[in-house]
């Protein structure tokens, strides 16, 4: 697949609306603050609109178009005034970039607005590399990591090299690639609870390749996949720590990992 890599633009002082995503908002605010730090360090003026909840993907993927449309409009209204919309998730970004335009194509007063918002919405790590032109981040980390390519980010948005590029810029990070890093972890949103046995079979293969990679920390760019893999590793008694990649890039990987006891 061809994903044209945009040339970095002059981004100083541009206004970014942070789409926090529901899972980061509810389960892992640390990732939200990591995104804030990375974007502010890159020179953006950052805001977090209050009128955001969810991108609507659970409804959209369950066939509930009415609720999906209502939530898409909610996002569009809250974010269309920004120069860029950035989310720490390939999956939610894919929903906005790839699916809002077709979802609202037959509603005249929304179709163009959906296309406009889609065109300026980016996943965090690829935004930093492709749009902001960031070559390195100021962070440090000591240890081996392995990176899982989440499906939507990889196949809808072409995110593959950007996270590896920024990880390579962090002193102390030793990336050990897992086999089949591009294979689904078995999460699939509601799939994970509707078909738990199949989801388990898929995530079991994934945690085996993670373990075989021999890294101390598992990273990815999507909270859904991370919670799925962390939950399985934890159930199996694994000591591998699971984190969102933004935590490592923003030098905020010193707190408890996903699924570990938190003091916050």
């Amino acid at each position: 697949m061809n994903f044209a890599s945009p040339t970095p633009k002059d981004t100083k002082g541009k206004r970014v609306g942070l789409f926090v995503t529901c899972l980061v908002d509810l389960f892992r605010p640390t990732v939200g603050f990591a995104a804030v730090k990375l974007l502010e360090d890159a020179g953006f003026e950052l805001e977090v609109p209050r009128d955001q909840t969810c991108c609507g993907q659970p409804a959209y993927n369950s066939g509930d178009k009415d609720d999906a449309k209502a939530l898409a409009k909610q996002v569009i209204k809250a974010f269309e005034g920004y120069d860029y919309i950035v989310a720490p998730s390939g999956s939610c970004t894919g929903m906005i970039r790839k699916h809002y335009p077709s979802l609202l194509a037959d509603e005249p007063e929304w179709a163009d607005r959906a296309v406009a918002v889609a065109g300026k919405t980016y996943e965090l790590v690829s935004f930093l590399v492709d749009i902001a032109g960031i070559e390195k981040v100021s962070s440090h980390f000591t240890g081996t990591v392995t990176y899982h390519d989440s499906c939507s980010g990889l196949r809808e948005l072409g995110i593959k090299d950007q996270p590896r590029k920024l990880l390579a810029s962090v002193p102390g990070v030793d990336l050990k690639e897992m086999k089949d890093s591009d294979v689904c972890c078995g999460f699939g949103g509601t799939f994970s609870v509707k078909y738990p046995d199949i989801s388990n079979a898929i995530v079991s293969k994934k945690t085996k390749t993670i373990t075989d990679a021999g890294a101390g920390t598992l990273l990815a760019g999507d909270m859904g996949c991370l919670m799925n893999m962390a939950g399985k590793l934890k159930r199996d008694g694994s000591a591998i720590q699971v984190r969102h990649i933004a935590e490592v890039l923003a030098d905020m990987a010193d707190g408890p990992a996903i699924g570990e006891k938190s003091g916050r």
């Binding site: 209050r50 909840t53 369950s62 066939g63 689904c184 989801s199 388990n200 962390a230």
Partner: protein
């Protein structure tokens, strides 16, 4: 064939617990994916060929009537006969009538998924016909009384040891002490047994990978040569094909052949590519006396002009199946009808009704790997979602799911209420998540915690912490009230 798609969950659980099946399924991942990638990497124009293939098929579907008409004229001109079948039943009756008209008692059969859709073997056997599958995989599952579990590797769910046992059970005319330890000896035995069948057959049936309109030809690709023997050694050759198999020209065929073998098995070309046009002519050294083509619709023309039209571009390479993590886990029989994997989950509801096949479009993580390898660039995840929309509109999905979704959407559509509720919700969740025994009893959470821990939230929500940070900074950025 009994439709068990509504029992998908039960089928899948049994498949997951079947250790022999799980061992056999490893061959799908190991046998296809790497070989396809190598073949694709070795052909620089592969992506351009995919575009071309997609465009040719799209064009054909827009003008399907024109090309089918031309195809029929050319078949007739070459001395063959075209029979139109609206339903699977019609097609079965057409084949039976041809067999009766020539007094046929025995039949050899090349691989044809259409014939599975028609349940042709059972229909003809009831009429007293002896039918022998000649594709090795199909032959094995015929001996086992099973159906294909994969569209190009029908017996991929069977282990070598099982095949040995089946051959010993079926081939009682052979020495019971013969050695069948290695695959080559199994292959040799099947070849010897099948050879007799080819010579004895009155009628040979093949499927068709493509029908060429400009020449009235049918095209099959095989790796065993069984199709050639089936269609040239019998008196009558019957081709079974569904209507969307037609392509305009032999030049177009070149595009599809280059895509098909690479996508399917990672071969540059299948071992045999056979183009058949009409019956034996006076100057031909061999060939059938009669050449019939049965064109099956069976619901396909209903797909034209709908959200599912693009599915008709499918050339049955099996790449989507080979790359599907759900298929890898549960195998083909779990899907409960003829076509498994992503292509089946889109096609089956079209052909048997979404009310019967409702699980299939849902049994996908929508990971998109299928679309990324489809040589015809069929947007399979998009179409799975379209089926989910149809189900939702018709209230076919379970009530607890609908209520769960509606309840969540009620809050998500009201940001102020949502944020207030979630503050408390997450505090509660932080306490609950580590209580695994309790979590297992909660609705929905039970599906998660059956196999996984539920990662506890950090406590406060991001929105809550962000508001606190803004307040302490004395800022009023955004709408962070």
């Amino acid at each position: 064939m009994e439709i068990t798609s509504p029992d998908f969950k039960k089928n899948a659980s049994e498949a997951l617990a079947d250790t022999t099946l799980q061992r056999a399924l490893k061959n799908v991942e190991l046998g296809f994916i790497g070989k396809r990638q190598d073949a694709v990497d070795a052909l620089p124009e592969f992506e351009a060929l995919r575009d071309l293939g997609r465009d040719i098929k799209t064009h054909c579907l827009k003008h399907l009537d024109v090309y089918l008409d031309e195809y029929e004229k050319k078949v007739t001109a070459s001395g063959g006969h075209v029979h139109w079948a609206e339903t699977a039943q019609d097609a079965c009756e057409i084949v039976r009538d041809i067999c009766r008209s020539v007094g046929a008692r025995t039949m050899t059969k090349g691989k044809s998924m259409i014939s599975e859709e028609m349940q042709l073997n059972a229909f003809l056997e009831k009429d007293g016909m002896e039918v022998t599958e000649t594709d090795l995989g199909e032959y094995i599952i015929q001996l086992r009384g099973e159906h294909p579990s994969h569209i190009i590797a029908p017996a991929v769910h069977v282990t070598k040891e099982q095949v040995e046992a089946d051959f010993r059970r079926a081939h009682t005319q052979l020495d019971p002490n013969r050695n069948l330890d290695d695959p080559v000896s199994l292959l040799g035995e099947a070849r010897a047994v099948l050879r007799e069948k080819y010579f004895a057959a009155d009628v040979g049936i093949t499927g068709a990978n493509f029908l060429v309109a400009e020449s009235g030809s049918s095209v099959i690709v095989t790796n065993e040569g069984n199709g050639d023997l089936t269609q040239t050694l019998s008196r009558v050759h019957i081709v079974l094909a569904s209507i969307e198999k037609v392509i305009p020209t032999l030049n177009d065929l070149d595009v599809f052949l280059r895509l098909l073998a690479r996508s399917a098995t990672g071969q540059e070309q299948s071992v045999y590519t056979t183009i058949s046009t009409g019956p034996r002519r006076a100057e031909d050294p061999d060939g059938p006396e009669q050449y019939h083509v049965v064109l099956l619709d069976n619901g396909r023309s209903e797909m034209l002009g709908t959200d599912f039209e693009e599915m008709l571009r499918c050339i049955r390479c099996g790449a989507c199946i080979n790359h599907c993590p759900v298929y890898h886990a549960v195998g083909g029989h779990s899907y409960g009808w003829v076509y498994p994997g992503p292509m089946g989950s889109v096609l089956t509801p079209s052909l048997i009704g979404v009310d019967k096949a409702g699980h299939l479009p849902n049994a996908s993580t929508l990971c998109g790997r299928c679309e990324s390898v489809c040589p015809m660039r069929i947007p399979l995840p998009k179409m799975l979602r379209h089926w989910r929309e149809r189900e939702y509109e018709r209230h076919l999905n379970p009530t607890p799911q609908r209520w769960g979704l509606k309840g969540w959407a009620y809050f998500a559509r009201r940001p102020r209420l949502y944020h207030q509720t979630m503050r408390f919700g997450m505090r509660l969740m932080k306490y609950l998540a580590p209580q695994t025994a309790l979590m297992r009893r909660l609705p929905a959470a039970g599906g998660w915690t059956k196999h996984r821990e539920f990662p506890a939230p950090e406590g406060k929500t991001f929105q809550q912490l962000w508001a606190e940070r803004q307040a302490s900074n004395g800022q009023t950025k955004g709408d962070a009230a």
